[in-house]
């Protein structure tokens, strides 16, 4: 824009070579219909000024809207002649002051000559009022134009019709009659013209009388042209704030004394309040701020909403943070819970497995303390009797009745203990022995499968050597498994925390004459002579939590099958437990 403005200024200088740029009084003219037309319109005025003020040279500078604003802002002109709308804008922004207003001597309202007319191609189904333009395409010369658009905009606003309801606002560009061309070409359904442009076109033969109809027509008495709007004052001649008062005064006097040319002359400056009112109503130009609220104004008007919004945002942030923390915490809790549950399930599974093993061994860990307590009573009583008898005799007394009492007491309590043990055995066995022809290799394989997990957890490997061609034995599968498990469990217990642990346990089956033999060999500490002597005794145990029942029961089982169970230390350390079972055929014979 600046480049255009400067170019125009340079052109002006070129056209007036005798006047130096410094000396010339420059008059910026809004050339909305092209610089030629502007020159044509205002050349008489310039000529008049030069004539009446010989001490000055006057140069006309044709500018567009932006050019004028630029020139006024930079002091590139001394006076401006522009449309009422632009003038009001410049007055507001740069302190431009009107010194004269254009008048038309041939009209009843000489100074109020600017209005607009909305035209449509004549036809049956044409809109009557401005509101009927909803959904239509409206052609305007420019959305910045005063008489060409804004004047009509205000009329629309007055009837509550927003331009947004138009299908389209088509900008045609200058000259203004292009709007008529757009209607003829069907580019728009309606068009806005400055008042009297239509009449001029008809007069010049560029349009037909019946070709166009007027929308929202109104009449102003004495105004010769058709109208769709009220009228506004004509163009003002204005000076810049920086222009010297003397010059302004001289120019004013000269303008007012100018004789009309083409029916137009300059008169006293008019009131542009109506123009201001238009701009204010439409919230454009100098009143654009009305539609573009300032931040402080906005804050002042809507502080409570800001407060609410601010609190909302704060709440939202807090909420989000809280939710985030909660989610994180819950997730952690959940993960922990899941892990704990998994651990618990794992522990329960392990526990179950182990208990299964133990119940197969006939030794329920939970029973141990009950059994111990139950046996404790008769044992303590027996001790009391025996001790009492000893003391009695040591005291040199020999009352046979007393000693008999003691002996009876001991007898009674041994019977009580025996009955407890019978109950335990019955619990351990709890079922009828069921003999069947068994492949001992298979029984060993199955039992080891049961035991493998437990041994692996203790870090003790199992090695198996199966004979493969053993004769069948007539045996109770569960009982034989129980014996095997018991021997294996003992082997594991013996090897726990022993250096030879990784050597593991070896299970071997073999033929032993007419019988079948199973050997379970460990690499534990082996048997001391004392242990060996009591190994199969009931309640003899070397385990801290043991009851001393396992091997006793095992031997009972094996012997009930007609077999034998014995222990022997290995030459290279550790112990081997062996048992035999007669083969089914031998037993039959």
């Amino acid at each position: 824009m600046r480049v255009v403005a400067l170019a125009v200024l340079v052109c002006a200088s070129v056209f007036s070579p005798s006047v130096s740029a410094e000396d010339a009084v420059r008059i910026g003219v809004l050339a909305f219909q092209g610089s030629e037309r502007a020159a044509q319109d205002f050349e008489p005025t310039i000529a008049h000024l030069e004539r009446s003020l010989p001490g000055h040279r006057f140069a006309m500078v044709p500018l567009d809207l932006d050019g004028i604003a630029e020139a006024v802002a930079t002091g590139g002109v001394d006076f401006v002649v522009t449309n009422p709308g632009d003038y009001v804008d410049l007055e507001q922004r740069f302190g431009v002051t009107r010194i004269a207003t254009l008048e038309s001597r041939d009209r009843s309202h000489p100074t109020d000559t600017i209005g607009s007319v909305v035209v449509v191609p004549a036809g049956a189904k044409r809109p009557q009022g401005l509101a009927d333009l909803a959904g239509k395409r409206l052609a305007v010369v420019s959305t910045q134009a005063f008489g060409g658009w804004r004047v009509v905009w205000r009329e629309m606003d007055d009837v509550g019709f927003s331009p947004k309801r138009l299908a389209d606002l088509v900008e045609t560009g200058f000259p203004m009659e292009t709007v008529l061309a757009a209607l003829r070409e069907g580019k728009a359904d309606a068009g806005v013209l400055r008042a009297c442009v239509l009449e001029d076109a008809i007069a010049a033969g560029r349009a037909q009388e019946e070709e166009f109809a007027v929308v929202g027509e109104r009449t102003v008495a004495g105004f010769p042209c058709r109208l769709s709007s009220r009228l506004y004052p004509d163009w003002p001649f204005a000076r810049l704030a920086a222009t010297s008062p003397d010059l302004a005064k001289a120019v004013t006097a000269s303008l007012l004394s100018m004789s009309p040319t083409d029916g137009r002359a300059w008169t006293a400056p008019q009131d542009y309040t109506s123009v201001h009112a238009l701009f204010r109503q439409l919230e454009i130009g100098p009143y654009e701020y009305l539609s573009r609220p300032t931040l402080t104004g906005f804050l002042r008007d809507y502080w409570h909403w800001f407060l609410v919004a601010g609190l909302g945002i704060v709440w939202w942030i807090v909420h989000v943070a809280r939710v985030e923390t909660l989610v994180r915490r819950r997730t952690a809790e959940l993960t922990r819970e899941i892990q704990e549950r998994e651990r618990a399930e794992q522990a329960a599974r392990r526990h179950r497995e182990e208990r299964d093993q133990f119940s197969r061994l006939g030794i329920l860990g939970e029973m141990a303390s009950n059994i111990a307590h139950e046996l404790n009573q008769p044992l303590a009583a027996i001790t009391n009797y025996a001790e009492g008898m000893t003391r009695f005799i040591d005291g040199g007394r020999t009352d046979p009745a007393f000693l008999r009492d003691g002996a009876r007491g001991i007898l009674g309590q041994s019977e009580r203990a025996a009955s407890i043990i019978r109950r335990i055995r019955a619990f351990v066995r709890r079922r009828e022995s069921a003999r069947e022809d068994l492949d001992l290799d298979e029984v060993v394989r199955e039992t080891l499968a049961l035991f493998e997990g437990l041994a692996a957890r203790r870090g003790i490997p199992l090695r198996v050597y199966l004979a493969g061609d053993l004769p069948k034995v007539a045996a109770d599968r569960v009982e034989i498994e129980q014996v095997l498990l018991n021997l294996l469990q003992n082997a594991v217990d013996a090897m726990l925390d022993q250096p030879g642990r990784e050597t593991g346990i070896t299970v071997r089956t073999s033929r032993d004459g007419a019988a079948v033999k199973v050997a379970v060999r460990d690499h534990g500490p082996g048997l001391t002579p004392e242990t060996e002597a009591h190994l199969f005794e009931t309640f003899f145990t070397t385990k801290p939590q043991g009851l001393g029942l396992g091997l006793s029961i095992c031997r009972t089982i094996v012997e009930s099958h007609g077999g034998r169970l014995w222990a022997a230390n290995n030459d290279d350390g550790g112990l081997t437990m062996r048992f035999t079972l007669p083969s089914a055929t031998t037993e039959a014979t």
């Binding site: 404790n376 303590a380 009583a381 027996i382 001790t383 009391n384 009695f392 009492d405 003691g406």
Partner: protein
Amino acid sequence: MTDPTAPLVLIVDDDEAMRRSMAFLFASVGLESQSFASADAFLAALAETRIVRPGALVLDVRMPGTSGLELQRLLGERGFPLPILIVTGHGDVPMAVTALKAGAHDFIEKPFKEQYLLDMVEGAIRLSRERLAKVERRRTVAERLTRLGKREREVLDGILAGKPNKVVAYELDLSIKTIEAYRASVMTKMEAGSLAELARMMAEAE
């Protein structure tokens, strides 16, 4: 009739075999014993007799009905004079601690060595003799005090407070001769050979 100074061991245990075998053990060393099958049976018997013989109470802590600890508490409230030996199960240390805090003489963990039980019972019996003697002495003093008249009692209090006869005479508004007569009467009725003996007697009875 049994010797009132011979010790008597009391046994409270719900297990008959234990009661009988313990009684047998005590009998083998010449100790008389009496057994009760429950705490309630023992309390019922106790209500009808007064403990005069030295001895000990061997109390099983685990019993159906009133427990050993509960019985111990009840006996404590009634000023039961015999030491109590608590018999606990194996590893029942917390219960033993509770019993000791409640004033048990000692506790024995089952199964126990007989010698240990006998030693403890022996110790308890010794203690019970001292306790019973003290109780007896207290009872005697209380009985003798009832023989004193109102004036005699006032004079006794004056003497025990260390006041000379004339101060007591002044306070009671009596002649010194009368006080001396009362004083002689107090000594006789209280069966005290000397003022020191009287003072010891009264201190013990407090």
